[in-house]
Symmetry: C2
């Protein structure tokens, strides 16, 4: 990106932000230079994660939540992590449609980031996108992910407040997820709370939380009906309360360190992976693969050979 | 593991297999030595993946499928990849209970592998477990995974025939999954086919397959009622037909190469992760983290500094 575009990005220009995120999506190694240059201008955003299974109403909830921040004159960036299929070749969700009323507001920037083909790189791409929003002056950054496992856990390491959404009657599947996702939630939302069994879902969550490790922050469970805007004020209040909790303890500093740590680890791993990719492309790699298939060498010894630049490890 | 235990493992002793898999679960770096030693005895198994969302009846289906292989005097190993929660601290599913009739059969070995805390390592652990089953003389290995994204795609790279199960009326969630999972299916099963809308589910799948890229192998869609054993013979037939298809084309060799490749990449990545961990433990890492937080250095330059052993990269 040219100096001029970076300047525009720092001024919050929507087209410049769009170009920068595209760079992260499509040319991660070029995005690196950009992030280096804007890094000094980051560190001023509060990052909120919103995660939940498809159909729980995340996008509608976010669309209703944004105006609460706008009332406070905050600038808001929304990143929708989109696990689009390599098969369908495009986004599955109608997120942007649901939020379309907001996209003309100059203080709101909503962007979905397709993650197909980004195996292992979603985490790093998310960090980069957060830094772009941050440097562009967004005081509030909302990251939406689909609650399907690893990505959520990775994204959890990037946010200050993590909101987990469920709905009544999602059944077996959610039961499975809940267990894994319980400990990454700072706030629980039971959306579509006009469905039957909403109270049952709340008490199930309460019970699961009660048997977990005791923490100083008691995770609140909020009932919402996002389509009608009900409960959004309460959610907003709890997000602010959690932010305040982090600020008034020394946890904010700890959190910041954790985010920084996770970020650095991602980048180091990517750096090493790039080095390995170079090796994979080499003739030697093909030769070694052949030796594994013919049982001349086992894959662990082969890996040692590759990582130690051809020198076998001494056992 | 002692030489004696390895000998017993190669003879198919159940206790030895159990110990070996525990090693993979709990001490991956020690398991490495074991895999090196048994590697020459592997390569004789046919590996079948069974994946689907919770509640689709995977375990019941597998329990009914195993006897079909036993009739042919095959030895069968079943590995249940269990995304147990770090929170609940244990397995969620009643898989083993559903299969308990079979656990006393000397030609069947069923084992669930908990994947909590194995972030990123599930794929490698699965490869290791497959090699253990393989070396222990199991001609058929069945891998069950819960259809929640990345893990399935990883496991797909380890198997010869991949069976994807769905049920009528799973709704939104499955719609999302299906797109991602479509292209990794060699066979589709619509289980609980006595539910209404079963034919609708079949025709939905047919339609989705018809818009995908054309392949020589036309993915069959089979209706089953696993609890009643209905359709199992047809599934068994299609698995054999797919195996035969791979064998009589040169695809089997290609598949074997792909499995080997995926295996080696996993191991290399793990090796890399270990190297990163070594760096993280160093004093220098803490110092650099402090410099990132204070904005003295950006994380990309910091990573370069760490990977180049302190020398800054020349731009």
């Amino acid at each position: 990106m040219s100096e001029e575009l970076i300047q525009k990005l720092l001024e919050g220009d929507k087209r410049a932000i769009a170009k920068a995120i595209s760079l992260v999506e499509n040319e991660p190694n070029n995005a690196k230079q950009l992030i280096k240059e804007i890094y000094p201008y980051t560190g001023n955003s509060y990052v909120i994660g919103i995660t939940g299974a498809p159909g729980t109403g995340k996008s509608t909830l976010i669309a209703k939540l944004i105006p609460e921040f706008l009332k406070e004159k905050k600038r808001v960036g929304v990143l929708l992590i989109d696990p689009s299929s390599p098969f369908s070749g495009g986004a599955i969700f109608g997120n942007r449609i649901r939020m379309s009323d907001l996209t003309n507001d100059e203080n709101v920037y909503i962007r979905s980031m397709a993650t197909r083909g980004m195996l292992g790189g979603v985490s790093r791409a998310t960090s980069d996108a957060i830094k772009i929003f941050d440097a562009s002056g967004k005081e509030i950054i909302i990251i939406e992910t689909v609650g399907t496992g690893q990505v959520d856990v990775d994204v959890f390491n990037k946010v200050h407040t993590n909101v987990v959404i469920t709905v009544p009657g999602l059944g077996d599947y959610v039961q499975t997820l809940k267990a894994g996702i319980l400990e990454i939630a700072d706030i629980f939302v039971v959306n579509k709370a006009d469905r039957e069994n909403a109270d049952r879902t709340v008490s199930d969550l309460e019970e699961m939380l009660s048997i977990g490790p005791k923490k100083e922050w008691k995770v609140p469970i909020i009932k919402t009906i996002a389509t009608e805007g009900k409960g959004i004020d309460k959610l907003y209040y709890e997000i602010k309360r959690h932010q305040n909790y982090l600020m008034t303890s020394n946890l904010m500093q700890e959190k910041q360190k954790k985010i920084c740590y996770s970020d650095l680890i991602d980048i180091i791993e990517q750096g090493i992976r790039n080095k390995v990719q170079d090796k994979v492309k080499s003739k030697k790699f093909d030769e070694i693969l052949g030796r594994i298939i013919s049982k001349e060498i086992d894959p662990y010894s082969a890996s040692e050979e590759i990582l130690n630049n051809g020198k076998r490890e001494i056992r």
